[in-house]
């Protein structure tokens, strides 16, 4: 075939193609064009997973930062929460197209190849912008340190809470003189409370919503109560499973009883929050439901999950800032990323409106924060966090939750016996401990994740 003569139709097709190609080109250049358009000298690309109310609060904080620092152009992108976010972040870091700043759940950092997919924070730079270790809960800070380096800068902790309707429970005597739920310290005490509450519950509503069919929530609740019993997961070197099936069975039976005794309706597992708005006296939810319930103008309170096994502990995860790996990280952009993260961490008062507990402790003692209700009722959760073990397969929506969560659900719903489920959990933990992290080919024991 020789060279084609160019006729009118081909010419038009060619122009059309060029137009399409051009638009792609400009799409790719878009970010650059933005930077050119603003007079900023430094551009910080920031990926996060905050949507809804959290997204709104984050954007408000970013706008405040932009106003104060016109020299830094913040280019923020919001991606879908959960597995897809981590997949994209990993691939971007691997392909050297990583953003300058990212957000991760702290529990996922260990499994994210710190040092290869994540760059460590420059603690000196953070201090320059007013953020130092002394301003954080020591246990929280320690979780962010891997191989002696800080890989995550905690922005908050978010915890599982026991929400209760003050107006519904008023007639029951379960609300104390201080207007808060009377404390509970045993499982029997807790079920007595539910029994009372049930009498005050309107027909057609369950007494408590606790996500009985949800693998994530059931797992988070399990972690909380298992920690209350002083249960452990692995030995210090991560070579041995120390999971206690007897303690696990106790927790599983406790969760199961809510369904067995008719306080939680399996058919209403996922509509706990809606039912709470309609008058269900109790619901266990993440603190991110605070803006929802406050927005609905409910008369409600929120405490950490009840210490039914005698010790305070409620499940906590943490949103933290990370530096996705860049081959040539440094210079003004990197400093801008440090500056932005430090600013948001220090100005998290707005963030607390979303129900999260700011990680930067000076915020917690401000008068403005102390006035926030119900936040002031559960701020103590900062000091008794129940976390997943610090291993590569743990963390929000990670492999551990995916593998063990559904097993917990089967016990709560009553299709498997608690003892058998506890044994299956131990089996899964044993399997995971022997498994190699696909990111670096190391098992948990070889991973050197010890702080």
């Amino acid at each position: 075939m020789g060279r084609p003569g160019l006729n009118r139709r081909q010419l038009l097709a060619g122009i059309g193609g060029l137009t399409v190609a051009g638009s792609f080109g400009f799409a790719a250049l878009g970010t650059g064009a933005d930077a050119l358009a603003s007079s900023a000298s430094t551009r910080v690309r920031y990926w996060n997973l905050f949507s809804g109310g959290d997204g709104y609060n984050m954007i408000a904080m970013l706008d405040a930062f932009r106003k104060e620092h016109p020299g830094i152009d913040v280019k923020d992108s919001t991606l879908q929460w959960g597995s897809p976010f981590y997949t994209k972040l990993a691939m971007a870091a691997a392909g050297n197209r990583a953003p300058d700043l990212g957000v991760m759940h702290l529990g996922r950092v260990t499994g994210f190849s710190p040092g290869r997919l994540l760059d460590p924070w420059d603690v000196g730079l953070l201090a320059k912008y007013g953020v130092k270790e002394a301003d954080f809960n020591p246990a929280l800070w320690k979780r962010a340190v891997i191989d002696g380096k800080l890989y995550a800068l905690p922005l908050d902790i978010h915890v599982q809470l026991c929400f209760y309707r003050k107006d519904v429970l008023k007639k029951t005597g379960l609300i104390g003189d201080d207007g808060r739920l009377v404390p509970v310290t045993s499982t029997d005490g807790w079920f007595d409370m539910l029994k009372e509450a049930k009498k005050a519950t309107r027909k057609g509503l369950q007494t408590i919503g606790l996500w009985v069919n949800d693998q994530n929530f059931q797992w988070w609740f399990f972690v909380a109560f298992y920690t209350q019993l002083g249960g452990t997961w692995f030995n210090a070197d991560n070579t041995e499973v120390t999971f206690d099936t007897d303690k696990a069975t106790q927790v599983l039976e406790f969760l199961r009883q809510h369904v067995a005794d008719g306080y939680a309706n399996p058919g209403m597992g996922s509509v706990g929050a809606e039912q709470f708005v309609n008058g269900t006296p109790f619901t266990w939810e993440g603190n991110w439901s605070v803006p929802v319930f406050s927005g609905a103008k409910l008369e409600y309170g929120a405490t950490p999950l009840p210490p039914v096994f005698g010790k305070q502990a409620t499940h906590a995860e943490s949103h933290s800032f990370v530096l996705p790996h860049q081959a040539g990280r440094g210079g003004a952009t990197n400093e801008g990323a440090h500056q932005l993260a430090a600013y948001v961490v220090k100005h998290a008062r707005q963030w607390a409106a979303g129900g999260h507990i700011p990680a930067y402790t000076p915020t917690l003692s401000t008068a403005a924060y102390k006035k926030l209700s119900p936040q002031n009722e559960y701020v103590s959760a900062m000091d008794h966090q129940a976390n997943e073990p610090k291993v590569w397969f743990a963390g929000s929506t990670g492999i551990l939750a995916q593998r063990v969560g559904p097993i917990v659900v089967s016990s709560t719903l009553g299709s498997a016996r608690p003892q058998a489920v506890a044994r299956r959990m131990k089996g899964a933990l044993t399997q995971l401990l022997a498994m190699k992290n696909p990111m670096d080919g190391k098992t948990a024991a070889q991973g050197g994740a010890a702080a």
């Binding site: 597995s83 997949t87 069919n213 058919g267 597992g269 929506t397 995916q402 559904p406 190699k436 696909p438």
Partner: protein, 313 residues
């Protein structure tokens, strides 16, 4: 590839000349035809052949998602997959789904086609109603039925006055996906049947009527035998499509594995291994295993069909 020279029936006078020209024509034909096919072949090679070969290669490595150089580990992934209870569970779920969907959809499509075929007035409306859901994207169909099946507010329980936890109980969750799929995809098979029904010559029915055959006899002895081939096609297409069930199942369960992992399909399992656990090598091995299973099903069907045809002769 047949060329124009072979397929054109030339008039007798031209045949002798054509015999000489055939070789030339074939060559030219390939040249032109080749260029026409080239864009397709290029894309096919780029997006099907190359990924397939790459997938086969990756299945023998411990590649992760970061694209780092992966180590060759022989058949380890395959060995692990064959001993992985989660893989067998998800394969079971896909197979169970297929066993339910294929007969239901075949019978339903046939009945709807008979209905639409025999209705005298407003035929277009019936056809449109039965086919319309098929035009919806899977996410729309999945979300729609997620609402309909919702225990508290859904229409399904409300209409039938029942209290079935469709999406949250492992006994019903896969059934809900099956019902959604029936509603969503029956239109395609319905259309195939309708076209086939319209292709049955009317004189067969007339002759049968003259011989005193009633409607039942006419259906059993004329309609069904005449539709045998189309039924074979519908079943085959449905089996291959149903084994690959994925999107409506994950949409209805918000991308989770369903109550007590009862709706995790084989494709979903592969996706989780690759993009949640970051085990690209392992996920590739599972994909290849799946490819072999599907190919085996398709070949088995061809073999059965050939045997039946030979038996019929």
């Amino acid at each position: 590839m047949t060329t124009s020279a072979e397929t054109v029936i030339a008039p007798p006078r031209a045949q002798a000349a054509a015999a000489g020209a055939a070789t030339v024509g074939r060559k030219q034909g390939f040249q032109h035809g080749g260029w026409f096919v080239a864009p397709f072949l290029a894309l096919f090679a780029l997006f099907v052949i190359w990924p397939l070969l790459r997938g086969i290669y990756l299945s023998f490595t411990d590649a992760n998602i970061s694209g780092d150089s992966a180590g060759f580990i022989g058949f380890d992934n395959y060995r692990e997959a064959l001993h992985d209870p989660l893989m067998w569970d998800s394969l079971g779920h896909s197979a169970f789904f297929t066993l339910l969907v294929v007969p239901c959809i075949t019978v339903l499509a046939f009945l709807l086609a008979m209905l639409a075929h025999h209705i005298e007035r407003g035929t277009w409306l019936w056809r449109l109603c039965f086919f319309l859901p098929f035009l919806l994207p899977s996410t729309v169909a999945g979300n729609l039925w997620q609402w309909l099946f919702n225990p508290g507010t859904g229409m399904v329980n409300h209409v039938f006055g029942i209290d079935t936890p469709w999406l949250t109980d492992k006994s019903y969750a896969m059934l809900a996906v099956v019902i959604t799929t029936l509603w969503w995809t029956v239109g395609f098979s319905f259309l195939l049947y309708l076209a086939a029904l319209q292709g049955i010559p009317g004189h067969l029915y007339e002759a049968a009527k003259l011989d005193g055959a009633n409607a039942w006899h006419r259906m059993v002895h004329i309609t069904l035998p005449m539709l045998r081939n189309i039924t074979g096609l519908v079943i085959a297409l449905q089996i291959l499509a149903s084994l690959q069930v994925f999107d409506q199942a994950v949409v209805m369960q918000d991308f989770g594995p369903g109550p007590e992992e009862s709706t995790r399909t084989f494709v979903q399992f592969t996706l989780e291994q690759g993009f949640t656990s970051y085990r690209v090598g392992y996920a590739s091995a599972i994909s290849i295993i799946f490819f072999v299973i599907i190919a085996a099903v398709a070949l088995a069907r061809m073999w059965l069909l050939r045997n039946r045809e030979e038996g019929a002769r």
